[in-house]
Symmetry: none
Subunit: 343 residues, 2 copies
DNA sequence: TCAAGATGCTAATACCTATTACCGCTGGAG
DNA sequence: CTCCAGCGGTAATAGGTATTAGCATCTTGA
């Protein structure tokens, strides 16, 4: 187990010298190239492999990428810290899925520590843009700058977004959740329980995930022949005042946390949830929210989305075609906050 | 912002040809090296900069890192999954600190997620060891094989351990928590509250972090002139029997979870915590533990440890000296489980 | 007038791997 | 004896940037 004490990185050249072969031979042994007309005698191969084992040599991923344009790294780019400070973080399940799939296809994960803030906004492209260090990239975040997506597309940089994205000068590869369908299903469920006047609380615009929810809401409301209103969340008291005045009996919240606060406010007004007022949470909490209620609504298949994003990316890299835009169904949650509408 | 229609990347060579200078000159203009004796005429510099702006040229980060002999990847080796499944996972705060510091020094993180288990134990060194993919490594885990640490040292592989480690054929760079001091402080506090007979429950050996706690405990007990016993945790009933029989009034638990179980057992015997029996938790929970008690004891500066580990690693890589072994103080927690000893 | 510096740049090379083109040797067929 | 095929490799080079050593040309001073 003797190892050279030099501090220098071990290179193929070193291995070559140790075994009395050329660097080329080492490279071929490493890559087990059987398809070419290069032949290496079994005993030579063994000698080289032995030296590699002895030294713990690993090909420099950077040189590898420069020469071969591949290094089996998948980049993970997020607009938030990758290891989030908040407990039970929203992004965590995505990352689990990404890690699992990356491992299954034999790729390492390169976590880009968060992008620098330029002009008050995080940016992918900046002075020392690191995206190209990996073979391809998974992009994570509620909102991605269309201009940056467009540039990625234009440059032919292989990437996949977790979450549906609008076209940005071309179709953006993504694995998203089918928010319109999931939201519509909840609206139908509410309508079936007799709710005639329901509300959507949230942005409903900006990020695609928000717009998609509102779109599904609006379409389903129309189809069910009931009345739906849309309000932005400001503070619980104000919003609740407004909605109760309108005779709303079920509140659909874009943000779980807003729902928790609203339900709390309702409780402090002696309104029972769901007997007096129903709530539907359109997805998992993205912020910590404290509530004892088990919200009705749906769950985002986050882990699966992460997994499939890597799958799509892998296909993109291999040039094997296949659908590059996938929408996954959300899992409905019966919960305990949606009941028959009060008469 | 006219971009050449070719699919090839713009290189410094291209810029050089466009402006009638050499690639070297382009490189110098780009890097604004004023410290060298290289001089570029202002008008030449302007011409080059104009071409750069026109083409939108950005230096290829891969080539850049190849030339720099640094890839600015920091490896993270852990004995657990990197994206922990459990909520509030013990290792999480370390990772947060690691990421934050990596970002501040402009490094990305490379995850070594899948160290194979050999002979019933995870190993750093194995067949397809990827350690050298990064410039340096952060090692995370309660226990690290001294033989592997020795090999890392011998090979001159830059690394830093999170958590103090005994010498392994040489001093191991680490950023640890000062468990002896933190534990001793708690012992003194208990002694000050009149406890004359206290116990340490846990391994007290094996991992350095355990041995350090017991060492601090033993030294402080002696200094305070009180009596301390050490028992391993088997099951709550047995241990509690034993300690109560000995007249112990304060129990110091190495593992938070063991403390929770012991306190629960005490409660089921109609003993009040802390009036009848005091508890001190020597650190944060490493396993999920359910308890309503707010334990007295101390907190491990996990985030700070992660941060400083990267700091030390960075210094190691830069060859700038500095202390490579750091012990950080733990934060005492007053809590509600340590009170005046029963008369 | 000529050496000594200052000025403004370039050639060459290192970084490390992957790949292409080729080379020398041996044994068997013709 | 020659030619060729098969074997087992090697030399050279690409890939793009950073850096070191050095080369012309011009200015200055004595």
């Amino acid at each position: 187990m003797t190892v050279p004490s030099t501090n220098r990185r071990v290179t193929q050249q070193d291995i070559a010298r140790m075994t009395g072969v050329s660097q080329t031979t080492v490279s071929f042994v490493l890559n087990e190239r059987d398809d070419t007309d290069i032949r290496i005698a079994p005993e030579t191969r063994e000698r080289v492999l032995a030296a590699i084992r002895r030294t713990g040599y690993v090909a420099d991923p950077i040189a590898r990428r420069l020469a071969a344009r591949r290094n089996r790294f998948l980049g993970v780019f997020t607009y938030e810290p990758v290891f989030p400070a908040g407990l039970g973080d929203f992004y965590h399940p995505f990352l689990v899925g990404i890690e699992e799939c990356a491992e299954s296809i034999g790729c390492d994960l390169l976590l880009f520590t968060s992008a620098p803030v330029v002009d008050g906004r995080r940016r992918i492209f900046h002075q020392d843009n690191r995206l190209r260090l990996a073979d391809g990239c998974v992009l994570l975040g509620r909102w991605l700058d269309p201009a940056e997506l467009a540039r990625l597309l234009a440059e032919g940089q292989p990437f996949v977004s977790v979450g549906r994205r609008d076209d940005a000068g071309g179709p953006v590869p993504y694995v998203g959740a089918d928010y319109p369908a999931a939201t519509a299903a909840q609206v139908r469920r509410a309508a079936g329980l007799g709710h005639r006047r329901i509300a959507y609380v949230g942005e409903g615009a900006g990020a695609e995930s928000h717009a998609d929810r509102l779109r599904g809401f609006t379409a389903a409301v129309e189809e069910a022949g009931i009345t739906g209103t849309h309000v932005r969340f400001t503070d619980a008291a104000t919003v609740l005042d407004q909605l109760l005045e309108q005779g709303v009996t079920a509140i659909f919240v874009e943000e779980f946390a807003d729902g928790a606060v609203l339900a709390g406010e309702a409780g402090s007004r002696a309104l029972n949830v769901p007997e007096d007022l129903s709530f539907v949470a359109l997805g998992d909490p993205t912020r910590p929210a404290s509530t004892d209620l088990e919200f009705s609504g749906f769950r985002i298949p986050r882990r699966e989305m992460g997994w499939q994003a890597v799958e799509v990316l892998s296909a993109l890299l291999d040039g094997t075609g296949g659908e590059t835009q996938r929408l996954l169904p959300c899992e409905p949650v019966t919960g305990a906050t949606l009941a028959v509408a009060r008469a």
